[in-house]
Amino acid sequence: MHIKTMAEYAASGETPEVLFWVGCAGSFDQRAQKITKALATILEKVGIQFAILGKEESCTGDPARRAGNEFIFQMMAQNNIQLLNMYGVKKIVTACPHCFNTLKNEYPALGGNYEVIHHTTFLQSLIDEGKIKMQEDGTFKGKKITYHDSCYLGRANNIYEAPRKVLETLDAELVEMKRCRSKGLCCGAGGAQMFKEEEKGSNRINFERGKEAVDTGASVIASNCPFCMTMLTDGVKEVGKEETVKVLDIAELIASSMK
């Protein structure tokens, strides 16, 4: 397998179908790298011509903007847009809902107009087109799975059904938490909280959410965001269920169950 960069495509005068925007978590966080690899494997398997920006990719600026530092956001955004426009990027898929939201909703005002797709939506369309076929007796068949709506995919962008439809192909038993869809409870990472200690309170947000997810009796918590992944994994540890309850990204679930 050879994952090509935009620079390599450009050098050979080709354009890939889609740019895979990896994001900082997907690039550097060890746990999130597995999500990145799972998605790359899927794209490779179904024969999608994709590229990454590689070393040229920068943070979208999301955490800086939400913390209040518009200067850093603008620096990142303008550099990224210049790069994306230079490569003539039309279509972007990303496994991070924060990158997704920023690229899709906030870059157009700065001159960056692309078709931006979150990987769960992309996977759903690949399944609908019959490009992804699932194993008859997949690993997760009959297992209880609960799905955690990330804020930036759900409320921020109204995407609730695509990830659930993807999960349905696993032939698993989907159980919902009480706070789901537009009422979904945050994992506690958004708004740059990921990068600082939580303010003092009676509980941690990820413990609250982790417990709620574990209480469904599911053996898998499906997530769609590398930050939710970190938060929920810690939440599950807090209730001592890390042996029996796994937090897995939807891309990982599909990668391990597709033909």
Partner: protein, 440 residues
């Protein structure tokens, strides 16, 4: 005697309208203290929001049972107010039930319908009082509401019940007098509710009944006019402002944060120095973010006046649920309180005179602002299209860009992004290490 009553009524009515208009103009002035923001695009989509969110109360139906009760109170209160038109005309002209000859047999049906609604409003308000004071729902016993806000809520419910009971008593007395063939009481036909209640008053003399009916009539209309003037001082103002607030609600995905063109421009000049050479030099130093209410947009300030302190936002807020000091409802209440204070300042001094206070710190603390995860749950829940998040983010922008006030971890995160293009301290060269591992 009649002319004295008419005169008294006209004076009362005129005074009520004058005082309400005066206060309404002050509120309008206060809202316009906010920064400009053009929200006049897509009128069709905006009117649709008014229909769905304000008239249809779409968001209320996230909890259907409460939504139905609220709808009764809202529709009832609104529709019954059509009857106020007749009452006002009767008051000015010294007539009694002016619309009977005009509407004929339709009249008792309309009044009957109003009476049914009046019963539903009474029931709804009674249940709401129970939820607040006996069942003590979490969002109603929160310390956000300590003091005046909690009383305000109860006064509103009690007043609405009182007004409905006065209306029903008045009609019952009227129906009883009609049955007795009293010449002053024009025959209207049977009213659905009060028509059944007439036996209650069968033992009363004509004189007492007349007194009762007139007292109820006066108390009811004086109550309505007083309530009108209570609105601008109360959270109940939402019955008016929910409509414009739905019209001006954001049409963008709520995940999108407002761009800052001033910063965009500065960074542009920084990244493309050749542009900077020809750029016009401006001696106005732009302010970034918001420190006080005047720095917020007029929509934020309209939001503050539209808030009815229901607390659905705070009940859904992950920070609030886990015991942090942040409460989106308090953000809105603080904004309104500070804006009212600024308004009084202008009232007293002609223009705003520095009072050494600001929304940030005197009302909203840094700890509150730093607890927000920007999850949009508060925005999602608000039935009247308020965004507490928009205010939080603008205050954060002020803290970081004007005061360089950020938790040390954030300062580190900023410099990591600036130097390594990632919020963590990793080498840029390692960004595609995962790919190298796959490429083998």
């Amino acid at each position: 005697m009649q002319i004295v009553q008419e005169l008294l009524f006209v004076i009362l009515f005129g005074l009520a309208v004058y005082l309400f208009t005066k206060k309404a103009r002050q509120i309008r002035r206060n809202i316009l203290l906010g920064q400009d923001k053009d929200l006049s695009d897509y009128p069709d989509r905006r009117w649709k929001n008014v229909l769905l969110l304000a008239f249809g109360q779409k968001k209320m139906f996230r909890n259907p049972l409460v939504a139905i009760l609220h709808f009764f109170v809202y529709a009832g209160f609104l529709i019954i107010n059509l009857e106020i038109l007749e009452i006002i005309l009767d008051g000015i002209l010294g007539t009694h039930r002016l619309f009977v000859p005009v509407l004929g047999s339709l009249y008792p049906i309309l009044i009957g319908l109003f009476e049914v609604l009046a019963v539903l409003v009474t029931l709804g308000c009674a249940i709401f009082l129970i939820r607040r004071n006996i069942l003590k729902l979490k969002r109603f016993i929160s310390k956000d509401l300590d003091g005046w806000p909690r009383s305000d809520a109860n006064y509103i419910l009690i007043t609405e019940i009182a007004l409905m009971l006065l209306f029903l008593t008045m009609d019952t007395a009227d129906q009883t007098m009609q049955l007795r063939g009293s010449p002053h009481y024009i025959t209207t036909g049977n009213f659905w509710i009060s028509g059944m209640l007439t036996p209650i008053f069968s033992g009363m003399s004509d004189a007492n009944l007349l007194m009762l009916e007139r007292s109820c009539w006066w108390l009811h209309i004086v109550g309505v006019l007083s309530f009108l003037n209570y609105l601008p001082y109360s959270k109940h103002l939402h019955i008016i402002l929910a409509f414009p607030n739905a019209y001006y609600a954001t049409l963008e995905p709520v995940g999108e944060m407002e761009n800052m063109p001033a910063v965009q421009h500065e960074v542009q000049l920084m990244l493309q120095p050749d542009l900077a050479a020809n750029a016009p030099v401006s001696d106005v130093v732009p302010k970034f973010g918001a420190k006080d209410v005047m720095d917020l947009t007029w929509k934020n300030l309209l939001d503050a006046y539209s808030c009815t302190e229901c607390g659905r936002c705070s009940a859904a807020c992950p920070a609030n649920i886990t015991g942090k000091v942040l409460s989106p409802r308090k953000i809105m209440m603080d904004t309104r309180d500070r804006l009212e204070e600024v308004g009084r300042n202008i009232q007293a001094n002609g223009t705003f005179t520095d009072d050494n206070k600001t929304l940030l710190r005197n009302y909203i603390t840094e700890e509150e602002l730093r607890a927000c995860t920007t999850c949009n749950a508060c925005v999602q829940e608000c039935p009247v299209s308020i965004s507490p998040l928009d205010i939080i983010v603008q205050l954060r922008r002020h803290l970081v860009m004007e005061e360089s006030s950020a938790p040390t971890e954030w300062t580190g995160m900023f410099s990591n992004i600036e130097n390594n293009m990632a919020p963590w301290k990793f080498s840029m060269d390692d960004r595609d290490k995962w790919a190298a591992e796959m490429n083998g």
